[in-house]
């Protein structure tokens, strides 16, 4: 068996391949559900019902998708330029922590709501940027591998958050629980739907996806980013400033991940703990790959992943199938998607 590159992948194939990938991932997940002793059709029905079947289900799914869209975008923009930012998780936490620190800044806590929200969002983005700029500069100066440095910085960031919320930012009223001081009310994001957790962060995330798409497609920076990612040598020959482009991409990527953390605190939690993120940063990587790095595709991939997680939660309560099935399903869909994308580019010959 061997692979040959297709001259021109057909449009139908390009569209059908991701659907086929999702279908086969669900089929494999179905086999696992059957192994766990549950009725597969019933389980999938319950997943869909859990995610879409009620007002609560829908708002929870969208709430869950919000940070995933942003961390997915963070990974997608970086990967486009071949900057392997695995540090979304750490940047997410730094963004969250920056918002918590806002409450302690004298004078700002009493600011009017729009100003407070804006300052917090910017602070979160800047914190995420700052954390990613360290590995980017190390890569440019010393050629250190950013996969390693960004990954390890995740642990540094989470330990730093832990130190802060048990120290300087500790909430004295939390009965000794390690959590940060609450974010002032002025900095909280407005609810989108009454009696739900869904907040205006979703709109910010959607706007960011469109903005990132526009930047990549229409600006000189976006064109240079793609060029640098596709072929650094040819990009350099065409005069693309590789270092500067990489730094800007790092700012964008880290900023988006930091924004995700800030929004999660301002929209859902209201304070920072070390279990704020069920691996949103790492899931962002999966979502970016599922979306084939396309910013608009990231929205769809984040929704898919949110549906699986929220739906599987309620399904597992009803049927006793462990909710890990959600992680397995998303992981399987990533694998099948990678295979599908490969098969779009190559044909199999015997």
């Amino acid at each position: 068996m061997r692979f040959e590159r297709r001259e021109r992948p057909s449009a139908a194939l390009t569209l059908l391949a991701p659907l086929g990938a999702i279908a086969s991932a669900l089929a494999m997940a179905g086999a696992l559900i059957a192994l766990a002793g549950a009725n597969v059709a019933e389980a999938f029905g319950l997943i869909l019902q859990g995610a879409f079947g009620s007002r609560l289900g829908i708002t929870e799914t969208l709430t869950r998708a919000t940070p995933l869209i942003l961390t997915g975008l963070a990974a997608a923009v970086a990967f486009r330029a071949r900057l392997w930012n695995i540090g979304g998780e750490g940047q997410f936490y730094m963004g969250a922590l920056a918002v918590a620190a806002f409450g302690l800044v004298p004078g700002l806590a009493g600011a009017p709501a729009p100003v407070a929200v804006l300052v917090c969002l910017v602070a979160g983005a800047l914190a995420g940027m700052a954390l990613l700029l360290v590995p980017v500069v190390l890569k440019l100066r010393f050629g250190s591998d950013e996969v390693v440095t960004t990954l390890l910085l995740n642990f540094v960031a989470i330990l730093f958050v832990s130190m802060m919320i048990e120290g300087a930012l500790r909430d004295p009223l939390a009965f000794g629980w390690p959590q940060s001081v609450p974010v002032p009310d002025a900095a909280l994001l407005p609810q989108l739907v009454e009696r739900s957790r869904l907040h205006a962060g979703l709109l910010i995330a959607l706007a960011m996806a469109v903005a990132v798409w526009w930047v990549q497609e229409r600006t000189v920076f976006g064109m240079r980013t793609r060029a640098a990612g596709l072929n650094a040598r040819a990009a350099a020959f065409a005069g693309v400033p590789l270092g500067r482009t990489l730094v800007l991409v790092g700012c964008l990527s880290g900023g988006l991940a930091g924004l995700a953390g800030a929004i999660e605190v301002m929209g859902v939690k209201g304070y920072v703990t070390t279990d704020l993120s069920p691996n949103y940063g790492y899931s962002g990587i999966v979502i970016a790959m599922l979306a084939a790095l396309h910013p608009i595709g990231v929205i769809g991939a984040a929704l898919f992943s949110a549906v699986i997680f929220v739906g599987a939660d309620s399904m597992s309560r009803a049927l006793g199938v462990p909710s890990y099935i959600a992680d397995v399903t998303v992981a399987l869909s990533l694998l099948t998607m990678l295979v599908a994308l490969f098969l779009v580019q190559y044909r199999v010959r015997r």
Binding site: R218, A234, F237, G239
Partner: protein
């Protein structure tokens, strides 16, 4: 004569292109067959099928009467077929002995029999006159020596049939002669060889029989002694192609001048104090054996690499390093490697057409790409430069080498540069495309641009250049006028013997003063 190899009715299709169309070929023991054809004629595809890299759509391969299972390089090796690739498949960080032994021992063997291997390698080297130090690291070897290692590797695997893909592409004239002497000797000792080439003179001098491929088909087969260069040229191209002829030049003022430029290049190809002047309306040809600093020189003049010392001036003003600065100063750049440097295969035609000038107000405003203008510029290039098979929104990857080069020429010449740096502009192109490139270069020169032509193709440089310098070990030889160039003199210059060239340069300078 025993028939050792027989390819019967091999057909191979890639998408819409028929790379091999019912090609049949045989090889007898002790024979050297040349497989002659232009780029894209299907030579490499045919040999890749023989060696099992590709599977044929139809047809069979028989080695010494036994059918070879398709698609299995290992089976080919076991049957005694060895392949010497154009781009060597050697691990640069290992020694010669390691490279030769790689893949010859079973994986589960705990100890490798190095002393036995060393003895066998020494015996082979002795028998075929392929001298090479078994303990040298491949990275430290010259290109000619690396090729010897490749051949030894094939022989070590008991190859009785040896296939060489464009073996002289990277060799000097002298190294090529030595190689062919070795090949003759090997044939006399009972090996059978096929070498792929598009160079007529080496086919005429080194082969017993010539098989000419054109458009994927065998168009002729001749015993070498019964044919001529002229006949082969016509068979290979299928029509008479005339390369354009350069009109006499009337050099104007100095456009580009390098003084004592030094810079460390990749892979040791550093420039060590280079100086030259390029005048308006003239073509300065830089010849030399691959790896002597050509790439670095092109990179420096293209603005990709900043000189460590020395100065570059354009019309007397110093040239700041940087691609944008070079282009702004009126330098048009045709890169040495189209695929790796010239274009981004997965970007669209219009993006490739404008990327290097995207900063210009023509193509962007306040950081936003002017897509309409960029598309229009690309469409103009596709039309005016006859780029076939390209769509403005299509990916460049799908273009043939010749059309890719037309696109690059188009985007460079559209900006009407005063100075044109053309590095290996016709490498890998077929005769028709080469003639097109040459025509464009001559036109640019005629309208007053200075052309710096860096090329390893001597015929090209003699045809296009007004003055010729050789680059050897990062230094430039004296310049000689093209009229006084002959193969012997150029060979000496490329080998670093510049006494004759110095004399000619001094004479010319004297003559110029006398005028």
């Amino acid at each position: 004569m025993t028939r050792v190899l027989e390819l019967r009715e091999i057909t191979k299709r890639f998408g819409a292109t028929l790379a091999n169309d019912a090609v049949s070929l045989h090889l007898d023991r002790g024979e050297i067959v040349a497989l002659l054809g232009e780029n894209g004629a299907g030579k490499t595809t045919l040999m890749s099928i023989l060696f099992g890299h590709y599977t044929a759509d139809a047809g069979s391969v028989r080695v010494e009467g036994e059918a070879l299972p398709p698609g299995q390089p290992r089976a080919a090796i076991r049957a005694g077929v060895g392949m010497v690739h154009q781009h060597f498949a050697l691990a640069a960080n290992l020694t010669v002995l390691d490279n030769v032994m790689t893949g010859t021992e079973p994986l589960w063997r705990l100890r490798s029999d190095r002393s036995g291997a060393r003895a066998r390698l020494a015996a082979l080297a002795e028998r075929f006159g392929l001298k090479v130090d078994p303990d040298a690291r491949v990275a430290d070897l010259s290109v000619g020596e690396r090729q010897r290692v490749e051949i030894l590797k094939a022989l070590y695997n008991d190859a009785r049939i040896l296939i060489l893909d464009e073996p002289t592409a990277v060799l000097t004239t002298q190294e090529a002669e030595r190689l062919f002497a070795t090949l003759r000797d090997m044939a006399a000792k009972g090996l059978s060889l096929i070498f792929i080439s598009h160079k007529l003179h080496e086919v005429m001098s080194a082969s017993d029989r010539v098989v000419v491929l054109r458009g994927g088909r065998v168009v002729a087969e001749r015993a070498t002694r019964d044919t001529s260069r002229e006949e082969l040229a016509e068979l290979m191209v299928g029509r008479a192609v005339d390369r354009p002829v350069r009109p006499p030049a009337t050099p104007g003022p100095v456009l580009l001048e390098a003084r004592d430029v030094a810079v460390a290049g990749k892979g040791g190809a550093s420039l060590k104090g280079i100086g030259f002047a390029l005048r308006a309306g003239e073509t300065l040809g830089i010849i030399g054996v691959s790896g002597n600093g050509q790439t670095t020189l092109a990179e420096v003049v293209s603005g990709v690499l900043a000189p460590a010392s020395g100065t570059l001036t354009v019309r007397g003003a110093p040239l700041a390093p940087g691609v944008r600065q070079a282009i702004s100063a009126g330098i048009g750049r045709i890169p040495e490697d189209r695929h790796a440097e010239g274009v981004l295969g997965d970007m669209t035609t219009w993006e490739n057409a404008v990327l290097e000038r995207i900063w210009s107000p023509d193509f962007s405003r306040r950081g936003i790409v002017r897509r309409g203008a960029a598309r229009a510029a690309a469409a103009r290039i596709l039309r005016d430069y006859d780029v076939r098979g390209a769509r403005v929104d299509g990916r460049v990857r799908l273009l043939s080498g010749g059309n890719m080069q037309k696109l690059i020429l188009g985007r460079v010449l559209e900006a009407a540069p005063d100075i044109l740096v053309a590095a290996q502009p016709s490498r890998g192109l077929d005769e028709g495309a080469i003639a097109g490139v040459h025509r464009r270069l001559i036109e640019a020169c005629a309208r007053g641009a200075g052309v710096l032509l860096i090329s390893e193709d001597l015929d090209e440089v003699i045809a296009l250049a007004d003055r010729i310098r050789a680059i050897v070990g990062g230094r430039l030889s004296p310049a000689i006028p093209a009229e006084r160039a002959d193969a012997g003199l150029l060979g000496l210059m490329m080998a670093g013997d510049w006494r004759a060239a110095e004399g000619i340069e001094a004479e010319e300078r004297g003559a110029a003063h006398a005028l």
